[in-house]
């Protein structure tokens, strides 16, 4: 019986020739990640262990991105607590305001993850790095503490679902639409405890940015991880961003999958997830009349260059609807600078949008764009749970940057084709 990509990476990090789904293993970690909300809890737990040092000061990354620049005194205290720990333990990969980005945009950009790595992060969207052919998964603060102390974590070797991508995307259709389509199809627990492995000839046409968006939302189907097969684009991305050696893993031909789905990319339409679950999806031709109050473009899901470029293309030379607030969040300082140099900010500002510093802010109802009771937002973020962006009676509709930008102009959810 062969192994999946994920199983091969886990086996290699557990020092085993072979692993099987369901087996409990201990794996060596290449990177342990935390943010300003989860790291304070991890530090308290770390201190209880009773070791003086972290296992490797180069293999820990801490990114204050959730409530930063600090939204209130308590958040500032949490960041200060984290900063003091970072200095005391001499953690190398700490990214202060001015250097930071939204963690899952920043970490690949900084070259801290490459194919074949095992990464845990105290943030559920750590699954993003599977786009690079790594095994990467979200865990909680106590696992982060244990990882920082020992450099290891325990895992149950997951089963996997295979997604074979074929064909190519139609205009205005993106990685976000692919993953929303898949989550709508399999449900928010459709991949529970499992890997989502993406393969097939359709992958080659997808940009790295699109792949990051897809693996980012694997958690929204309950998956342990999402992972893409490494190809020329992955290798080019890693060479541009990282000095680290990488290892390419391909699934065995006789690898076992619980299910295989063939996804024809030509058939995918712009897709919107209605409140209050990411699997409550409708294609753009079935959304009906949904008036909106706010548009959020950015986040760890869609805060990369491709996302900002398509939003700018839609907004260029147009005016945002007078009753809609549009807030744009580049995912990192690098993205910010590049977008500025390409003149995208001019398009945004002239259309009537604001551009923010990178932060998770509104995505989780933290700050920088909280919704009042009864308000509706179209967001390129990843979750539309009750109260996610503010008042428990507000609503979030998840969509691609193209649909979000078009909706900002129309004042209601529309296809980009309707405003172009």
């Amino acid at each position: 019986m062969g192994m999946t990509m994920t199983q091969k990476i886990l086996a290699a990090h557990a020092g085993l020739d072979k692993v099987q789904a369901g087996e409990l293993i201990k794996a060596k970690l290449d990177l342990v990640l935390g943010n300003d909300v989860t790291t304070p809890v991890a530090i308290k737990e770390f201190n209880k262990i009773g070791v003086d040092k972290v296992f490797d000061a180069n293999k820990i990354a801490i990114v204050p991105d959730h409530f930063t620049p600090n939204k209130d005194i308590k958040s500032a205290e949490q960041c200060k607590y984290v900063r003091e720990f970072v200095q005391e333990k001499e953690i190398v990969n700490y990214f202060e305001i001015g250097q930071m980005g939204i963690e899952h945009v920043l970490i690949p950009e900084k070259g801290l993850v490459v194919a074949g790595d095992v990464v845990i992060g105290a943030d559920s969207h750590t699954c993003t790095y599977g786009a690079l052919g790594a095994f990467s998964t979200g865990i909680g603060s106590t696992d982060m503490a244990a990882g920082m102390a020992t450099g290891e974590a325990w895992f149950k070797v997951p089963e996997a679902i295979k997604f074979e991508l074929k064909g190519s995307l139609k205009p205005w259709v993106s990685g976000k639409d692919i993953i929303l389509h898949i989550i709508g199809m399999i449900g928010v627990d459709g991949a529970l405890y499992q890997s989502m492995e993406f393969t097939g000839e359709g992958v080659s046409a997808l940009s790295m940015d699109a792949r990051f968006t897809i693996t980012n939302m694997a958690i929204e189907a309950g998956a342990k991880n999402g992972i893409f097969e490494v190809d020329d684009k992955t290798i080019a991305y890693m060479k541009e961003h990282s000095q680290k050696p990488y290892t390419e893993y391909k699934a065995d031909e006789d690898a076992v999958y619980t299910k295989t789905f063939e996804i024809n990319l030509d058939d995918i339409k712009p897709t919107v997830a209605f409140p209050h679950l990411p699997d409550n999806t409708r294609t753009i031709d079935n959304v009906g009349e949904v008036k909106i109050d706010q548009v959020v473009i950015g986040s760890c899901t869609n805060g990369r260059m491709e996302d900002l470029r398509v939003a700018a293309k839609v907004l260029r030379g147009k005016k945002i609807h007078p009753y809609v607030r549009t807030i744009i969040f580049p995912g990192s300082q690098k993205v910010y600078l590049q977008a500025m140099e390409e003149g995208l900010f001019k398009d945004f500002v002239e259309a009537g949008a604001v551009v923010s510093t990178p932060t998770c802010g509104p995505c989780l109802g933290g700050h920088m764009g909280i919704l009042a009771k009864g308000e509706r937002a179209v967001a390129t973020t990843n979750r539309n749970f009750v109260g996610r962006m503010g008042h428990p009676e507000s609503e979030v509709y998840l969509a691609s940057p193209a649909v979000a930008a078009a909706s900002a102009v129309a004042g209601k959810i529309v296809s980009p084709e309707e405003v172009m």
């Binding site: 909680g140 106590t142 928010v188």
Partner: protein, 167 residues
């Protein structure tokens, strides 16, 4: 022998960690402070009616979404002695075991138990006894490694033992 007994507070499918503890309260990690807002966006009455030892029962995919450990911390600090669900989202599952909040996967019990039932749980046998309905359900047993984690009272104590730290 580890046991829990209490009245049941019951919820449905896909209870996410954002409703268990909304992000607007994540600027602290103090368990008692977090407990005050536990379940607020799903059930405003929860924190007023929960009694120490009560058991939470829910449907599929309990604890989906964010990895915030604040969610099981808030549930535990609110006085809940055990969570029984059809299935748990995987990060919540790990977090609960790591912090010592007992959880049991049992689709039959989760479907059958009603709000307000008096329920007793035996963690050694995995038996769930519904005193009100006079029924017994058997939960999925934990693998041995996880039993070791649970009996060590969570991951941190387990690691201390492994590393031979006794101070």
């Amino acid at each position: 022998m580890m046991q829990a007994q209490g009245k049941v507070i019951k919820y449905g499918d896909n209870v996410d960690t954002d409703v268990i503890i909304p992000a607007r309260y994540l600027n602290t990690s103090d368990p008692q402070e977090l407990a005050k807002y536990c379940m607020e966006d799903l059930d405003k009455t929860f924190i007023d009616r929960v009694n120490s030892g009560d058991i939470m029962v829910a449907g599929r995919n309990f604890g989906c979404g964010s990895s915030r450990e604040h969610a099981p911390i808030a549930i535990k600090a609110a006085g809940i002695s055990c969570v029984i669900a059809k299935t748990f989202a995987r990060i919540f599952y790990r977090n609960a075991i790591n912090i010592g909040l007992p959880i049991l996967e049992c689709p039959e019990a989760a479907a059958d138990i009603k709000e307000g039932d008096e329920v007793k749980v035996d963690f050694d046998t995995g038996e769930i006894i519904n005193i009100t309905q006079n029924k017994v359900y058997k939960s999925t047993p934990f693998p041995q490694f996880m039993q070791e984690l649970i009996s060590a009272n969570g991951l941190i104590e387990y690691i201390r033992k492994q590393l031979g730290i006794n101070n």
